[in-house]
Structure formats: C-alpha cells, structure tokens
Subunit: 225 residues, 2 copies
DNA sequence: ACAATAGTGTCTCTTAGACAATATCGA
DNA sequence: TCGATATTGTCTAAGAGACACTATTGT
C-alpha cells in the first residue's frame, strides 16, 4: 500500500543581528550526509500521536528547544523531492527568541540568514521560503512576532522585531495603538529596562492566555486577534 | 518503515441558495461504508506526481469536476482519526460555481449546508470547519470568492457572493472600489445581464492571468492581490 | 409612467501616519 | 545640564461607509 516516505521538517526561525535566521543541521544519514539541511525526522507512528508531536519531539531531540511557537506550514510531497523515492513531508515552522536558543542548542546547529541561503538539499529551499513568506504575511496583522522576543520585552524592542520581520519601518504611534487594541500584552508592574543612558522603558509580557501556542492550524486562526 | 495510511481529502465548496455547501459522498468501502463523508482517496505513489495531483485526480474521478480552484488546506494526522490505524490526510479545499457542478456531478454527490452539518466520520467535521474558516478569512482580503461564480458574472452578483461567504452585508461603493483596485476583473464588452425588469448589469470575468488557479500553498500567496 | 436595480458622485467619519511636546534615565 | 530614547498628545491626510442622485431596463 504505502511505499511513501513520511517525514516532518521544521523551519526554526529566530532573529539575530536584526535579521531572520533559520536553524540548519548537518545531516547524519544519507542522502546528503554531512550537508546542511532543515532538521527533520521520520514520522514514528508508534511514538507520536500526530505529526505536530513528531515535529516537537524531533526539535527537542536535535536542538534542545522544548516548547517553541510551533505551527504547521504546509505539506510538500512528490516523486522527485527525495532521491529515495516518493516522499511526503509535513513542514512546520517554529519561532524562538535568540536567547532561548543559544544555551540549549545542540553544538552543530548553524544559523543562516534567510536572505543569504544558497543551496539546500531536497526542496528545503522552497520550504524555508514558504515559511518566511508565511511569517511575514501573518506578522502584518497578528501578534506572531512576539514569539521572537524573550519572556519580557519593551515596546520599542517589540517594534524593532516587527520592523526586522516586515523589512520596513513602522510608525511608532500606530504601532502602539495596534498593540494596544490587540490586547495581548500586559505590563510587568514595576519592571523597567534600566541601565541605558535615557528614560527606561516599561517591560511587557504576553498575557497568560496567549503564552503557550503549540497551535494546530485551526488554533492558529484564533491567535490572529 | 511506513505503516502510515496516506490519503487526500477534499472539501469541495459551492454556493447554493446563498449559503456555503460542501459536497459529500457515500463511502463505498469500509470503514464507515455507506456513510456520507468527504471525497478522498489513497495517495498513489505510482500515479501521482504529488498530493495536489492526487486530489485533482480523485475529485475528477468521483465528482466529474475537472479544474476547480484547488488549494492545500492543512494536513491532519494521528493515531485516532481512522480506525484502521495511524493515518495522515493532506486536506485540500476546492471552490466551484454551482452551475459547473450540477451537470458534471456524479449522481451520489450530496450538497450539505456547512452550517447544518451533523456528524461526519473520521475528523472530517474538523476538516470542513478549517476549510470554511480559511475561505472566510481569505475572502476578507482577497479575490477568492470569484471562484464561486461562473465564467462571467455581474458586480452585484459578485457582491452577493462575498456577502454570503462573509455572512455580513458589504457597502456597495466600498466593494466596488476594492474590486477596482484589486484589478483582477475585466468587462466583457457589450455583454449585459438582461431579462430583468430593471437596468441591465455589466458582465465581468477574471482577467486571463488569474483564471487557472490550481495553486500550491506558495502560489496561493500571490493570488492575494 | 412606474417599479426595480445598476452605476456613480459626494459627504462624513474613522483611522493611520506625521509631528512634536514632555518625561526620565546615565553621564 | 546634556544627550538619548520612552511615552503621550494632537494635527492631518487617506480610506471606508452612508446617502443620494442618475441611468436603464421590463411591465
């Protein structure tokens, strides 16, 4: 019946030096052994309740990231994408703050700026491109980029993140109005980002309700507002 | 390796009596033999270049629909969704005009209003819900609903289609401004919808460039504008 | 002529962006 | 106090919706 190779691949994105970077790993098996590629794994029907779990488990095992924002991207399939034969990969994308990545990360994770990626094996280039488009599109009308910040952050910092993702400057007043009406953030009372030679900024965090967004595609729609 | 059941399912949507309807078929195999469900099929690695082709082929075979608007929705997977075992279904949604459906349709296709669906086997209810949400969401900022109209249509007709999909009235002037700036329609010169006891309406059609939208998830993003 | 809907012009109100004034830190 | 950036207030311009007027058909 099924001579179909079923895998999951994850586009793990983070912000580094103000630019989106994707996490790549040296493959430890053929095909393309030793080549940088997206972290991926076979779907294990005996271990995983669904492919979302496959993706989360694989990501934890290969990068040490425990609970990033993780959302299904799309499924890539066909005869020609894998030299081993007809294959199907359910692709996910994940967002993490650079800080939560650095300490936990497996030593051979490479961060590549998404704008400077050359060649990737399989159709991983297309998958990365699709993920970046998705993140840019959703960022224009949702709170998605907060997942690229750490636990707490200032509004100017969050604005810089949005600007990095969208690739264009944002009006400060409009940005704050938008964030205000999204009503997803709360002030961390009394906490200010101090130490800079200017007025300190108020720290914010996601309201508890929006914290853990291991979203399926349907739950993701709710995250819009 | 792969004891995973790989299938495609299609949520075929059309507009009937001003409400979204989904095409359901009586299953001709166990499990759930004889029960109404989404049209679906196994992915045939030896016949289909990818799952998009699987979906198109299956839809053509089971409903006679040759080239609808067809876009990947999401992939549903897991141990419990199918009594036969761990399964994975790449779900697509398709949009067609009611007229292009009626003549070609296989006799045992049932159209059910999406608001009145009771129970469906597997997780097909969730799949339908996700498709309807997707269509509603995309319709708010794109030209998606034109695919629910026939080859040619009037602007008042198109507006009624948008209103049916979105479930709320739209301002006429704003609607026409929006359609105008999307710049995806062209007048069918000289063609008017006549026969009614009032001023006849200009007929329009999709510009050639936007006709055939058998879109993959990445191509779909372009269809936004 | 009348009823009915198509198509268009214009006014107003909401909202997004520009500008700028004030606040608060370290040096 | 000065330099720097946070935060807030206000003005303006662009866009969306309400309203209404004209156009064109069948009856």
């Amino acid at each position: 019946m099924s001579d179909i190779i079923c895998t999951v691949d994850v586009v793990l994105l983070t912000l580094k030096n103000g630019a989106l970077h994707v996490a790549l790993l040296k493959r430890d098996h053929p095909p393309f052994e030793g080549v940088l590629a997206l972290p991926g794994a076979y779907v294990q029907a005996d271990e995983d309740a669904d492919t979302q779990e496959s993706a989360a488990r694989m990501l934890r095992a290969k990068t040490g990231i425990a609970s990033p924002y993780l959302e299904q991207l799309a499924t890539f399939s066909g005869r020609c994408r894998d030299p081993r034969g007809w294959s199907l990969s359910v692709a996910y994308y994940a967002l993490v703050a650079e800080k939560s990545l650095v300490p936990a990360v497996h030593p051979d994770v490479t961060l590549s700026a998404v704008e400077q990626i050359k060649d990737l094996p399989f159709d991983h280039r297309q998958i990365v491109d699709a993920a970046v488009r998705r993140v840019r599109d959703k960022s224009a009308y949702s709170s998605l980029p907060v997942h690229l910040c750490g636990e707490t952050f200032t509004l100017p910092r969050l604005q810089a993140v949005y600007e990095a993702v969208l690739g264009e400057p944002i009006n400060k007043v409009s940005f704050r109005r938008k964030i205000e009406e999204l009503a997803i953030l709360e002030r961390v009372e009394g906490a200010m980002e101090t130490g800079k030679a200017h007025r300190p900024a108020q720290l914010y965090r996601l309201k508890k309700h929006f914290r853990q967004c291991l979203s399926l595609s349907d739950r993701a729609l709710n995250a819009t507002h």
